[in-house]
């Protein structure tokens, strides 16, 4: 398939996934706020600060807003067009990507994304954000679920699908590490997860942000920091755990290139294989020995590395001609410029 199309499908799904994760993050934390006693503005800042820090957009935020109260943070993450990673920005970007590969998408798939886009720009959406925010976020999440469901049931399992799946799982892995990282920024005394400790609510929120509450409960009687970290990073079965996502990333990469699992034919497969091995054979002991924050930070760097290598291998690749003797490669700079438009978070 066209390199540009592969790149566009990959980013379309990444943006959709990003919007979904943000919607859950904000919704969960907004509800968590209700469980606390009235917070003064100082405590309120302390509450939202870790969340902003975990998204990695703290610089953009502090440029745009003087205060970090609920209203500001929610606006910034939800529908501030100046924040390129706000929910509405992500949905616009996803749709813009979809528009340029409209011919690859089923009508139903396009319609769902377009409907979500039209919703986020509607008066109804603005009204909901004022009067019933949970409903707003639920609409976004349901629409994303529908989108992914339609994709799963209408798209052939070909290269296009694998590039979409690649985007979805890489984005998901990244978001899980970021949500988990919220715990690293919690004020001292609130970082523990044991029943009855002040941090328990935060850890519950982290699980909920990853949509993992039910799945976690099913296998664990006790909430503990260690148990949650283990589950969100190393679970073999939970579809938002880092390990599960990277397993899918590695699988998609090998389906695209046709290289058998366990071997590699390019740099991106080598890197995904390494990360996967670390996750397959790693443990929470390693995590805490390194320090949770540093461990997660390192993972995010490696995800970015995988993203960059995907781009390098399939979009910016050397220009060999299929089934005919290959002449020289021509300049790549112009190609690079137009494909680099998309940014990783």
């Amino acid at each position: 398939m066209l390199s540009r199309v592969a790149n566009t499908l990959y980013w379309m799904v990444r943006y959709v996934e990003r919007a979904d994760n943000l919607a859950r993050l904000i919704d969960v934390n907004q509800q968590l706020l209700l469980d606390f006693e009235r917070l003064d503005s100082e405590r309120l800042r302390g509450f939202w600060q870790p969340i902003i820090l975990s998204t990695g957009d703290e610089e953009a935020f502090s440029k745009l807003y003087d205060d970090s109260g609920s209203g500001e943070v929610i606006r910034f993450l939800t529908d501030d067009p100046r924040n390129l990673n706000s929910i509405t920005s992500c949905i616009s970007l996803a749709r813009e990507n979809a528009r340029t590969v409209r011919d690859q998408l089923s009508d139903e798939l396009w319609e769902e994304l377009n409907a979500l886009y039209l919703f986020t720009r509607s008066d109804e959406a603005h009204r909901l954000l004022e009067s019933d925010p949970p409903k707003y976020y639920e609409n976004v999440r349901r629409s994303v679920m529908t989108f992914l469901g339609i994709a799963a049931s209408t798209i052939s399992r070909n290269e296009a699908w694998e590039f979409m799946d690649l985007g979805r799982h890489l984005e998901r892995a990244d978001k899980t590490t970021r949500f988990l990282d919220v715990s690293s920024y919690l004020p001292p005394g609130e970082e523990g997860a044991e029943t009855g400790s002040p941090g328990i609510l935060h850890w519950t929120a982290i699980l909920r942000s990853c949509g993992a509450m039910g799945a976690f409960r099913a296998g664990h009687h006790e909430l503990s920091a260690r148990g949650i970290v283990d589950f969100l990073i190393f679970s073999k079965e939970f579809p938002r755990s880092v390990r599960y996502c990277i397993e899918r990333v590695d699988a998609s990469l090998h389906l695209i290139s046709g290289t058998p699992r366990g071997a590699f034919s390019n740099e991106v497969e080598r890197e995904s294989g390494r990360v996967l091995a670390d996750l397959n054979f790693g443990s929470t002991e390693d995590v805490f020995a390194t320090g949770l924050h540093d461990y997660l930070d390192k993972l995010q760097e490696r995800f970015n590395q995988i993203g960059a290598e995907i781009f390098e291998t399939y979009v910016l690749m050397p220009e060999r001609i299929q089934s005919s003797p290959g002449p020289r490669s021509s300049s790549q700079s112009d190609v690079a410029a137009w494909q680099m438009e998309q940014q990783q978070q």
């Binding site: 398939m1 540009r4 528009r99 011919d103 060999r320 299929q322 005919s324 190609v335």
Partner: protein, 478 residues
Amino acid sequence: MEMFNGYDSGKFYDEMFGTDGTVRTHCEPLLKKFSTLNQRDFLTRKANSELYFLRQGITFNVYHDNQGTERIFPFDPIPRVMPASEWDHLEAGLTQRIVALNLFLHDIYHDQQILKDEVIPRFYIEQAKHYRPEFRGVDVAGDIYIHICGSDLIRGTDGVYYVLEDNGRCPSGASYLLENRNALKRAFPAIFESVGVRPVDSYPRDLLNMLHHISPRREGDPICVLLTPGCHNSAYFEHCYLAREMGIDIVEGKDLVVVDKFVYMRTTRGLLRVDVIYRRIDDDFIDPVVFRKDSVLGVPGLMNAYRSGNVSLANAVGTGVADDKVIYYFVPKMIEYYLGQKPILPNVPTYLASEEADMKFILNHLPELVVKAANESGGYGMLMGPSASKDEIEKFRERIIADPRNYIAQPVISLSRSPTWCDGAMEGRHIDLRPYIIYGKDVKIVPGGLTRVALTKDSLIVNSSQGGGSKDTWVLHH
């Protein structure tokens, strides 16, 4: 029928009602069906079809609006209905016309016999803005130049169909023809079933067959692509729509690269050779090496590959010369010259400002005429004599005298009208018809075409850029 109560067909040719107010026979079944709807029902269905367009993203961008507002093209749910006999006549006339136009283009890009025989003065061709003398002697697959033609037809007060212009470069609108049909089928399925309408859904197939036909590579399945200027182009929806319907890749200039006079596209598995390009980019922008140097939409080196016969373009380079309104004047003569036949579809009577007698006539009758610049389209560069101010008329008089080669004049034709739903009432609005003619192994025309309607009261300008909308066109089985 209540919606049609009080409908005034006026002094024009009305597509549905005769001058005495009686329903034309071929419209009776449709009208009978519509009469079973009440107004509320009708409006709900109309709103649903608009929602369908919006959800499908069949919209155009409103430029200069940084909110990124998108609007749907206005769509009127009352179809234009045409009996089979009328369509047969149009089909024969359009087929004759595209055959002659292609013979003409082959001729002027080779021996120029028609100029040597002085049927068309040489000067008109050589001064045509879109004539490409550098492509003389270049052979194109099947000697076909115009593969897709979107001729505009209008109907005067007498009910006669005239050809207003031939669009032989990149005519757009075919996707609206197809989507109007889809929208109407959803809105009024029952009406549809009972009336007996010829389907239009073969268009993408016909288009793809034509592209395969002109492939320079004989062995294996040819690789065809649609070349678009990109997603900010106002016709982008159409480009995607057609590419998907045909199952071919839609590419932008930057997706293509020319190596050793062959065209390739950049894929995840390396470069893949391309045989046929259905290009939706004008000549001027298609190759910055040959044409406009500042074009970022095109493919450097494409013209080299094209000249070498390694890639086919639809439409071919240089067809714009036939779109010149002065050359249009000569199409009936081409038909007689190349085919030895009488033209089946007449041109609108046309005066050429470069001809002395015509010039005199034009200058003396400016307030009654429509004056058009030879190479403008979309309703621009025009003087509508009867509605123009004295100032405008004098401005055009000067322009015509300064540059007679680039002006023609025609009598005002009062386009036929069709009942159209306008803010709460059914009123007559002027319409035209753009059929899409495909010339590959043979000539294919999907029955009907895009009916464009001037939604502004009394306006004769149907272009979407100037307040036009569209309707579904029904060619009946009988």
